[in-house]
């Protein structure tokens, strides 16, 4: 039932927290912390679910997502976007860029799990 999650996030403590939460439920978690080559990493690892932070060093999460949505093999990839900015504007931008789900930090652990689960079920 559990699958492969790729987490692109630059804050080490958050990476550790999410890895912990998902691993315990049986997910395989890969992480990457740089925005510049994030899209290539996604293609290489072809995860079941992508968790993508917005504020990344080198390249913004929105740009990476737009890139992914433009390529055929990642067109349908379920993507959960995380942002710490939390304004309506950010939610709209995420939707327009093609995010499947959007979450504002800080989140509850259960929320993250639910979101990842629901994304794999629908796909």
């Amino acid at each position: 039932m559990a699958g492969h999650v790729l987490l692109i996030e630059d804050e080490p403590n958050i990476i550790e927290a999410i890895r912990f939460i998902l691993s315990r439920e049986g997910w395989r978690v890969d992480t990457h912390s740089n925005g510049v080559d994030a899209a290539d990493v996604v293609r290489a690892k072809s995860p079941d679910v992508l968790i993508l932070d917005v504020m990344l060093p080198g390249r913004s999460g929105y740009d990476i997502l737009r890139d992914l949505r433009g390529a055929p093999d990642t067109e349908e990839l379920p993507v959960l976007m995380l942002t710490a900015r939390g304004q309506n504007k950010d939610r709209e931008m995420a939707e327009r860029a093609g995010a499947s789900r959007f979450m504002t930090k800080p989140f509850s652990n259960a929320e993250v799990l639910d979101a990842v689960r629901s994304l794999t079920v629908t796909s």
């Binding site: 403590n13 550790e16 927290a17 939460i21 710490a84 504002t104 800080p106 989140f107 259960a110």
Partner: protein
């Protein structure tokens, strides 16, 4: 008595004859058949009003008393005409081109249209001419007396003088104010005067011929008689003669009546060219028989006979009644022609410079109807004529005639001639000013009044006798007849010398000392540089005028509007399909239309130029210039307003841009803060939930997660501290704790603090302690904060294998530079500009700062009166803190 009746009848017939001459001349001129009226001979003859009854009768008297002296009166004008004809030419050209109506008008016009000067000259003319008119009346009365045989019965003669005055007034009113010709010409009057000139010359010549050939028996015997007589002796009184010569020449130019016939009635230069030789000839003929008549009269008439009347009494004594009658008509002609022209000239002055200005001032609102003003002018002229003659009559009646009157002629000459300096200066010298003219006239007039006019009434009349002997109040040099102690010259000569001398000095002195107004300058230029053109062009074809007006109107109003206007006006005149006649009504309408576009003055000048064919007057030009100036001023004001609006708009735009930028910056800042707060909170929440919810978590995991929570909480606290610090530094009142400190101590503390946490990489620090012994007067805590930040940054971000930091101190010109240079790869060039901005975190997040450190440093250093900068090209990251030494700090 029959003689007297015949005389009356002949006089009346003669007067009717003159009326007829004037009437037909006037009618011919009006019907455009008066070309012969413009002939030079008529002009020349009209100049003969110079020879008044005073000359006609008095010259013989003068010769009988003073010998050849009478010649000076004839020589003066002759010299002017022969030697100064170019002065006269200039005068008549100015008169024509400026449409001068009188000598007062000339002076007033030349000096910036000053009505004050006009009034002054007018008064001078009235004062100087009134005794002269009285003299003419007296001469008529005396000549009538000769025929009546009554010996000097003055009481009976008042009516004669009155009737003569009334008759002259009527004649002058009829022919002097028939119409208001723009150029003030009186063809009827001039023609009548020309006829009278012939009559008086003929009369005098006839008497002379009778005396020479009828009484003396030829030229030879007459010359013998003259030689035998005392009068024949050529006693030259140089000074007096020169004075009289000058006086008569000046009077010829300045006398109102002479100005009238010579300048105002002049049509063209040809008239003057002939007069230049013909009038001296006329004068010569007039003077030819004066001395023979005087000598023979003294011989043949009984002792005590009045020599002033020899011209009449000699023929009468020899029973030549007809000749005596002719002689009477000659004298009568002399008297009447002078009075008529003088009355016209004076009335023009009085009316134009005194009555009309007053009337206009009191009736400003009623001037709109042009016919109205025209009638007022006519009435004012007629009343002025009557007034002038009444004044002359009253003067005669009051003075009672007699010798007092006879001497007043030269006195009056001298008064009127005071205009000469202002007149000649005005037409030849552009530097002459109104103030100068006014000063000259005033001084001349006062000196004349004091030295000649008042004493002429006899000592004791106006001037106390003592004044003439010892001077006023005993001040000898103020003696009216011996000013400044100059005695022993003829009183007349004395007055002429002093009045003209002081007049001229005042005129030139004040002119040089004063500045002319723009109008005076323009007028001066026009008068001094009067064009060589002769006479105004005449426009008679109304068609051509209407066409020209149409062209002009189209240019100003636009083709469609102009055509519509002309069509409408033509239809109103019943000339459908043609151009309208240039009637006054049409011109008025057109002027109003044009005025709406180009201003009233300009419109008036433009129409005037086309219709009148006249040159634009200076006043017109000035008005046009005024309008233009106003328009330019308005335009300049509008331009300034427009510039102001543009500037305001630009300012508003800039302000708006700034607000927009600030708003964007504020959003970005809030977003940044949100991010910086939420990130540690995310970790805290996640790990605290893990600790709470997860079963079977290991002890190490528990410790690790708790310390993460702890670190993130500290990070949050630090972030809030930094934000508050920055906010206070940026906006609030910062209390600095200023004290003395040594730089090396501050650096020691900072290094210790920055390196305190051992869990980060090791940083080698190089210092030169000897250079750090600098005493600072500053807030050492704050400065230490800056240093800690810089050292900590080096520790966090220096990417060299073995990180090293050099702290270099240098004192330069009143300030100390503290450089922090590490051996890493430094700050990327594109980031160097922004590292001091808030949240400008350029490297990746490994050190976990919020990006406020350098922003805080910049604020602190600036509060301490120094500055912090990034030094590019120094190998690694290099920052310089520059602080002032030993001087007041810029901080609060």
């Amino acid at each position: 008595m029959t003689m007297l009746n015949a005389l009356a009848a002949i006089s009346i017939l003669y007067v009717f004859f003159l009326f007829a001459v004037a009437f037909f001349a006037e009618r011919a001129a009006r019907r455009g058949r008066g070309n012969w009226l413009h002939t030079p001979i008529i002009y020349t003859l009209s100049l003969s009003i110079y020879c008044t009854a005073w000359t006609f009768y008095g010259a013989v008297g003068s010769a009988a008393r003073n010998g050849f002296e009478y010649l000076t009166i004839y020589l003066g004008p002759s010299l002017v005409l022969i030697g100064w004809w170019w002065v006269l030419r200039k005068l008549v050209r100015i008169g024509r081109s400026q449409r001068i109506t009188s000598v007062a008008d000339l002076i007033s016009s030349r000096y910036g249209k000053s009505n004050l000067l006009g009034v002054g000259v007018t008064l001078l003319a009235v004062v100087g001419t009134t005794p002269y008119i009285a003299l003419q009346l007296q001469s008529v009365v005396l000549s009538v007396e000769v025929f009546s045989g009554a010996p000097d019965g003055m009481a009976n003669n008042q009516p004669t003088a009155l009737w003569v005055a009334v008759g002259l007034a009527i004649f002058t009113v009829i022919f002097g104010t028939r119409n208001l010709d723009a150029n003030e010409r009186h063809h009827g009057v001039v023609m009548a005067i020309a006829v009278e000139a012939i009559v008086k010359l003929a009369a005098l010549l006839a008497v002379g011929i009778f005396v020479v050939w009828g009484i003396s028996g030829g030229v030879g015997p007459v010359l013998d008689r003259i030689d035998a007589s005392a009068l024949g002796r050529w006693e030259v009184q140089g000074g007096r003669w020169a004075g009289l010569l000058f006086l008569s020449a000046a009077a010829f130019l300045c006398l109102p009546r002479m100005f009238q016939v010579m300048v105002v009635e002049n049509d063209n230069d040809a008239q003057l060219r002939m007069a230049a030789w013909a009038f001296p000839l006329y004068l010569m003929l007039m003077s030819l028989f004066i001395l023979p008549i005087a000598v023979v009269g003294l011989d043949v008439l009984p002792e005590g006979s009045n020599p002033d009347l020899f011209v009449l009494t000699v023929p009468l004594a020899f029973g030549q009644d007809g000749l005596a009658m002719l002689s009477f008509l000659g004298g009568f002609s002399s008297a009447t022609s002078m009075v008529i022209v003088a009355a016209i000239a004076l009335s023009t002055m009085v009316s134009n410079h005194i009555v009309m200005p007053l009337w206009l001032r009191f009736n400003e609102t009623r001037v709109s109807v042009s016919g109205d003003v025209r009638n007022v002018v006519l009435v004012s002229r007629r009343v002025s004529i009557a007034g002038v003659l009444a004044l002359g009559y009253l003067y005669y009646a009051q003075s009672g005639g007699g010798a007092a009157l006879a001497t007043i002629g030269l006195v009056a000459f001298t008064g009127v001639a005071q205009v000469l300096p202002a007149l000649l200066g005005g037409i030849f010298w552009r530097g002459a000013t109104r103030a100068g003219a006014f000063a000259g006239l005033t001084v001349g007039f006062l000196v004349w009044l004091y030295t000649l006019y008042l004493p002429s009434f006899g000592s004791g009349a106006f001037v106390p006798e003592s004044w003439l002997e010892t001077g006023p109040f005993g001040v000898m040099w103020l003696n009216p007849q011996a000013l400044f102690g100059i005695t022993g010259i003829d009183p007349l000569l004395h007055a002429v010398l002093w009045s003209f001398f002081l007049n001229t000095i005042a005129f030139f002195g004040v002119s040089l000392a004063s500045f002319p107004s723009p109008l005076e300058r323009l007028q001066g230029a026009q008068f001094v540089n009067v064009q060589q053109a002769t006479g105004p062009r005449s426009w008679s074809q109304s068609g051509a005028q209407a066409e020209d007006l149409m062209v002009m109107a189209q240019r100003i109003l636009g083709a469609a509007d102009a055509q519509a206007l002309f069509l409408r006006e033509a239809r109103r005149q019943g000339l459908d399909g043609h151009l309208p006649m240039t009637s006054p009504e049409f011109l008025e309408v057109l002027e109003r239309e044009l005025a709406g576009s180009v201003g009233a003055a300009t419109a008036h000048a433009m129409i005037g130029q086309i219709v009148g064919g006249m040159s634009i007057s200076v006043a017109d030009l000035m008005a046009v210039a005024d309008e233009t100036a106003q328009m330019m001023e308005t335009s300049a004001r509008l331009e300034a307003q427009s510039r102001e609006l543009t500037r305001t708009a630009a300012q508003l735009r800039a302000a708006n841009d700034k607000l927009t930028r600030l708003s964007v910056q504020k959003d970005a800042f809030l977003s940044q803060i949100s991010h910086e707060l939420r990130t540690p909170m995310t970790s805290i929440r996640a790990f605290s939930e893990i600790l709470r919810d997860t079963d079977g978590i290991t002890r190490e995991e528990q410790n690790r997660y708790a310390s993460i929570i702890h670190d993130e909480a500290i990070r949050l606290t630090r972030l809030l501290d930094d934000l508050l610090d920055l906010s206070v530094l940026e906006n609030g009142q910062v209390s600095l704790n200023i004290g003395q400190g040594v730089l090396s101590d501050v650096l020691d503390r900072a290094v210790a603090a920055a390196l305190a946490h051992g869990d980060e990489q090791v940083l080698m620090i190089h210092r030169h302690r000897s250079r750090e012994e600098v005493i600072l007067n500053t807030d050492t805590e704050r400065l230490s904060q800056v240093f800690i930040n810089l050292i900590a940054n080096a520790r966090k971000y220096c990417d060299a294998g073995r990180p090293e930091l050099s702290i270099h101190v240098e004192q330069i010109a009143g300030s100390v530079n503290v450089d922090f240079v590490d051996n890493g790869s430094g700050v990327a060039p594109e980031a160097q500009d922004v590292i001091f901005e808030k949240f400008a975190r350029v490297s990746d997040q490994k050190a976990g700062g919020a990006g406020l450190g350098l922003a805080i440093c910049r604020q602190i250093v600036s509060r301490l009166g120094g500055e912090i900068s990034y030094l590019p090209g120094r190998g690694g990251a290099a920052f310089r803190v520059s602080l002032p030494l030993n001087q007041a700090l810029a901080a609060q």
